[in-house]
């Protein structure tokens, strides 16, 4: 397996390593396995939700309702458990509720054709509102340890949610780069109409993406509830912006068609270690906010500088000749010309 990284992913790795070294100099606790593993607990929830979000943004959509969905599904689980349903079946039902909420987003977007940003802006309020309404705002706690292990347990020293996240990254990366549907997702982002005219059921893929986003958000909601030991309607407030920040920092274009899972993973990691390391270095949270905003703009600025020149981005087996699938190869110099540009035929 040959892995070739995009230029922006190399920038991100540089940024990750650079800030890692700096933070290690500022705090002796930062660069210890225990601290870094612990930090991934927080990365996992953001990171999981960021996986379907990456795909949705690649398809030129957006899902602003993810954090509300986390709260709604956790709340559903909590309320069912409180009414006597064993915790794991309750969790399954909570995930089912979150998946349904995601499906509902997808249905309105794909079938009624309401813009995704409008639909999910509305369901951002609806889902959290329903969670608040159902629970009256009070939290539910006292879940059994077997459930809490989902959020606090470790396997061989590695937090359980980190393992789930890594598995999710692998699955999402393979799905996006190796399967037909993965290719279609990029295609939908570039030119949805052409995909419809190629006999591809765009609506079904879109529906699937938002449903998957609902499912993963619900799963992250369970992990969240297990980590904090509580199901509460204000859970994960504001996570949607962190998730989108991480995805965009990872190089996914909001204009659709561009983006990778590896980039998103790096984006999540950078935000996580900045927050972790800067707290350890005793930088006030307010300053961290300013810093992360600056990093975001700076990173996107460096991507834009290179946007005119595209590179190969593939995770693919070696090929005897320059290989195509998923590839973007530069050929045409100076093709940033206006309408009606003639393409030269070599």
């Amino acid at each position: 397996m040959r892995i070739r990284l995009l230029w922006r992913e190399r920038v991100l790795i540089g940024l990750l390593v650079g800030s890692g070294v700096l933070l290690a100099l500022l705090s002796d606790v930062f660069f210890t396995p225990a601290n870094l593993l612990r930090a991934t607990r927080y990365a996992a929830e953001i990171g999981l939700v960021a996986l379907p979000m990456t795909m949705i943004i690649i398809s030129r959509g957006i899902d602003l309702s993810v954090a509300s969905n986390m709260a709604l599904s956790a709340m559903t689980m909590g309320l069912l458990w409180q009414r006597g349903i064993p915790v794991w079946p309750a969790a399954a039902l909570g995930i089912a509720a979150g998946t349904l909420a995601g499906w509902l987003n997808g249905w309105v977007i794909a079938r009624v054709r309401v813009p995704a940003i409008v639909v999910t802006l509305a369901t951002l309020a609806v889902y959290r509102g329903v969670a608040t309404g159902l629970s009256g705002g009070t939290g539910i706690l006292g879940f059994p340890d077997s459930f809490l292990a989902l959020g606090a347990g470790t396997v061989a020293g590695v937090p359980i949610q980190t393992i789930i996240w890594i598995a999710g990254i692998a699955a999402a990366a393979v799905f996006l780069t190796r399967t037909a549907v993965g290719r279609y997702i990029y295609g939908i982002g570039h030119n949805e109409t052409a995909l419809r005219f190629s006999g591809i059921d765009v609506d079904r893929i879109v529906l699937g993406l938002y449903t998957a986003s609902g499912f993963v958000s619900a799963l992250a909601g369970m992990i969240y509830a297990a980590r904090v030991g509580t199901a509460k309607s204000n859970a994960a407030a504001g996570y949607e912006l962190t998730v989108i920040t991480a995805v965009v920092l990872g190089g996914t274009s909001l204009a659709g068609g561009e983006g990778t899972i590896v980039g998103t993973m790096l984006g999540v990691l950078i935000i996580t270690i900045l927050q972790n390391g800067l707290t350890l270095a005793r930088v006030p949270a307010a300053v961290q906010d300013v810093l992360i905003g600056t990093v975001l703009v700076g990173a996107v600025l460096t991507y834009r500088e290179r946007a005119g020149r595209k590179e190969v981005f593939v995770i693919a087996p070696p090929q005897p000749e320059p290989h195509h699938a998923g590839g973007r190869v530069l050929t045409d110099p100076g093709n940033d010309l206006a309408v009606g540009e003639e393409r030269r035929n070599p």
Binding site: G61, V119, V130, G133, G136, L254, V287, G293, V339
Partner: protein, 317 residues
């Protein structure tokens, strides 16, 4: 004509229906003072909505308005406390809003970073800067002249309402009948064609954001001069409210069409809805769910009304 103003008329009908029902069942809703408070609370949101309408019509988005409002409010309050005369304070708020808007605009128009990223960054960074700088201390006490703007009444209505209306009318005129206004629509409708038509698209984009900032500066003055202190939490969540109003008001979220009148009606509708929950005694815990569902129904109904949902292909998501 029906077609052209269809969305505005729909909202107006919804507004009339809701207000009519409340007036019939809740005698206190009919009260002139109730009306005045609703209009006053809508005034500053409406002014921010003007800027947001321009930004969205131009095909962009600005989610930093709430943080900008807080910065303007705190600096204005600090200046007033330092003894600056009120007209200077107002000018400072306008200038500061213009400056922050211009920063957004420069990053978006000249460095060509997507607006959602720039304003997401300024949303977080400005809020962080506020907490860092104020340490959470509210700005008070404010000099006696501070509340002049916010509490003076003309013909029974507070000054902010009149200023808000003037701004809405002026903006409606500018957008509909001046060259810069029309260029904003052209830019949002087809950016590439706008460039070919000789429009300096970067300049228009820059000014749209700068103006949005300026209007936030104005809105700040309409809002915080009603109170005898400036709280650091001012403007939290304002972007959500304003964008919702713009979308409910019929502006196409992808740019090219939309009116300030629609946005102002959208603001009024949301304000009345919010008051209705209290007047009708609807449990506050369901508040958020009802508001969200309301937006979804409003927007979906409009899409069904205009038949856009039946378009088989090629309709941008």
């Amino acid at each position: 004509m029906m077609m052209k103003w269809g969305r505005e008329l729909t909202i107006l009908a919804a507004l009339a229906l809701l207000a009519g029902y409340l007036s019939l069942t809740q005698p206190n809703f009919r009260d002139a003072f109730t009306l005045s408070t609703i209009l006053t609370n809508a005034a500053y949101v409406g002014v921010v909505g003007i800027g947001m309408t321009m930004v969205i019509v131009a095909g962009q988005i600005d989610i930093s308005v709430g943080s900008m409002l807080a910065v303007c409010a705190l600096i204005a309050g600090t200046l007033a406390r330092a003894g600056a005369p009120m007209f200077l304070v107002v000018l400072a708020s306008l200038a500061l809003g213009l400056g922050m808007g211009a920063l957004n605009g420069a990053l978006i128009a000249y460095l060509r970073i997507p607006s959602i990223i720039v304003t997401l960054a300024t949303l977080t960074a400005l809020r962080g800067a506020i907490v860092w700088w104020t340490k959470g201390y509210w700005v008070m006490p404010l000099p006696p002249g501070w509340k002049f703007l916010g509490t003076t009444h003309i013909l029974g209505l507070p000054l902010p309402v009149w200023i808000g209306w003037t701004a809405v009318l002026a903006a409606a005129y500018v957008l509909a009948h001046t060259i810069i206004g029309r260029e904003v629509y052209a830019l949002g409708s087809n950016p590439q064609a706008a460039r070919l038509a000789g429009i300096d698209t970067a300049r228009v984009t820059f000014w749209v954001f700068a103006l949005s900032g300026l209007l936030v500066g104005l809105a700040t003055m309409l809002h915080v001069t009603r109170f005898s202190m400036v709280q650091t939490q001012e403007g939290l969540g304002l972007e959500f409210l304003v964008i919702t109003a713009v979308v409910v008001g019929g502006t196409n979220i992808f740019g090219g069409s939309g009116t300030v009148a629609g946005t102002y009606l959208g603001v009024l509708l949301l304000t009345v809805t919010s008051s209705a929950l209290t007047f009708l005694g609807i449990s506050a815990t369901w508040d958020q769910a009802i508001r969200g569902a309301f937006i979804l129904v409003a927007v979906t109904a409009d899409i069904v009304r205009t038949g856009r949902w039946r378009q088989p292909v090629g309709w941008a998501r």
